[in-house]
Symmetry: C2
């Protein structure tokens, strides 16, 4: 039997905790035999949730007590420093001590990002670990790096994002020679703000990535690039607007279909097909966003994540571990440093 991949799941994080994270853990160990889940959080709460399920391997779900909970609104740096017995800090420490391979949380993005960097730590040479969610496109998915909390990036950060993103897409998603593009306000090389203008020539020269130039926001949903590089403020706008425009349009369409008897009948007939289509294009469907370039794996799932999404994030951790992504990133960054 293959070695167990050990994934910590934050049982107290997110809008649907503890119900959905606990359900995700149960489903994950039921579906795959090579996973062990640590649930961090308040033991009585978790035990009560677990009692609702049966037929799963009790050996492969273990509770690790953490009495405190970090709330979404808390200033992250403070929260990580003060709440040493929170589900996030306890979980990240398991990864730090190499007792677990990965940590998955739907809790405070800021706390997960800060905690990941401070507790698990950056790989040697990595300047800034980016948060890299997958976003749906007409061709499949693209990786958007960075959507993290550290804004005002430098050009060298963006070059590392391009490298780490390429390794991820090639090894986890199986995209051969992934196309890398930088978000810009025009397709021409002379376009851009100061950061993009300074980064563009560095990406052009950068070995080991397949840089295709600028991408305008309009073309992101077309899937013209596999790795979309931008600084975190812009990445945040892209990720959230994807969600916002998609959600608003779907509501608008649903309301539009209720305007006449004719369209109401039509709506009944198209409903199943429409539902499947929209699910395909829902950014929150694509599991979690990894924090790349750390010594262990940290994955942030959406605050409103359901069990199915958290389960996918757990499976993603297995792939990540088997493909040795962190090792590959570390090797790549070190190699680059030697060349310079």
């Amino acid at each position: 039997m293959a070695e167990l991949v050990k994934v910590v799941v934050d049982a107290m994080g997110g809008d649907n905790a503890p119900v959905e994270p606990v359900k995700a853990a149960v489903e994950a160990v039921k579906e795959r035999k090579d996973i062990l889940v640590f649930l961090t959080g308040q033991r009585p709460v978790i035990e009560k949730e677990l009692a609702r399920y049966e037929g799963y391997s009790k050996k492969r779900i273990q509770i690790v007590e953490a009495s405190e909970v970090i709330e979404t609104a808390e200033p992250p740096v403070n929260a990580i420093r003060k709440k040493k017995d929170s589900s996030i800090v306890v979980g990240l420490n398991l990864v730090k001590k190499q007792e677990a391979d990965a940590f998955v949380s739907s809790g405070s993005t800021g706390a997960v990002l800060v905690g990941g960097q401070v507790l698990v730590g950056r790989s040697k040479g990595v300047e800034r670990p980016p948060l890299a969610p997958l976003i749906p496109t007409l061709k499949g998915v693209s990786l958007l790096v960075d959507c993290g909390a550290n804004v005002d990036a430098r050009p060298s950060h963006l070059v590392q994002f391009a490298k780490m993103g390429s390794i991820y897409m090639e090894n986890v998603l199986g995209v051969k020679n992934p196309k890398v593009a930088i978000v810009n306000n025009g397709a021409e090389e002379e376009k851009g703000n100061a950061l993009v203008k300074a980064t563009f020539p560095l990406l052009k020269e950068c070995k080991g990535i397949n840089f295709i130039g600028s991408i305008e926001a309009r073309d992101i949903p077309e899937g013209l690039a596999d790795v979309i590089v931008c600084e975190a403020f812009v990445g945040n706008v892209i990720l959230k607007l994807y969600e916002g425009v998609g959600g608003a349009l779907v509501r608008k369409i649903k309301a539009g279909m209720m305007t006449s008897l004719r369209s109401k009948i039509g709506a009944l007939l198209v409903k199943p097909a429409l539902k499947a289509t929209l699910k395909d294009f829902d950014a929150s469907e694509y599991g979690g966003a990894p924090l790349l370039g750390l010594k262990g794996l940290v994955v942030k799932t959406h605050g409103s994540a359901k069990a199915v999404e958290i389960k996918h994030a757990i499976f993603q951790c297995v792939q990540f571990k088997h493909q040795r992504i962190n090792e590959k990133i570390a090797e790549h960054i070190l190699e680059q440093e030697k060349q310079e």
Copy 2:
């Protein structure tokens, strides 16, 4: 009879020139008696197009010869400087000389922005004239300032954007006490990049605007604010992603409806309702984007604009003129300067 509002339409600008701009001019003067249109461009080309129409007032459409055409790919500063006899330069000069009230073009955004600033000129006190398109929301429309070509803005620019945007929404769209928000990567006051952090307190203190704080990109389509303030790089991403996600989703939905016989029949029934709904949520449907804070009115319509959109932009110019927007902006900015 009310005084004629004189609008220059660039007959050579955009993907659909000269067909759509000329058609727009004809329809505009047919529908309203208070408009005179100057068409700038190559006389034979325009005359040939005009020959296709009848029943319009030939007095209220006048051709102003301009032999050159500025292409979209040309570097804007160069184009404006060198092509003195282009439809854009000739048109903007009519506004400069106060022979016309407004200029509407679907041509090169860069050239229109540069030309507007250089030829028509900024109102006294305006630091940077922003391009401010209307974007559709679930509640109606919001004004997105700035989507122009001048990136890397300063906090004082953003404060002026907020003021000018408020005046526009109040007077042109009739929104009482318009809500102003700044695009941010979180709802909390401590969030933001360096620019947003520096701008936030200035907006809070700013008199005469109804500042409601940060807006996350997710909430823009909800219509939570009437005036959305951001620097141009971010504005460009928002505007183009709106278009991109909307377009991709619609194509995906149409394809999804063709997957089974059941859904195909349903699609036929919902088609009319769906079409009306999607039109409502199409960013390119909302006429043109004014360049605010100039001594005359300059409106940029979408490169792929059809006659109906250009016609709306012409009507928008009439409203803009009647409401004395430029005068109000100039007064407001000067008043503010006196207070400081």
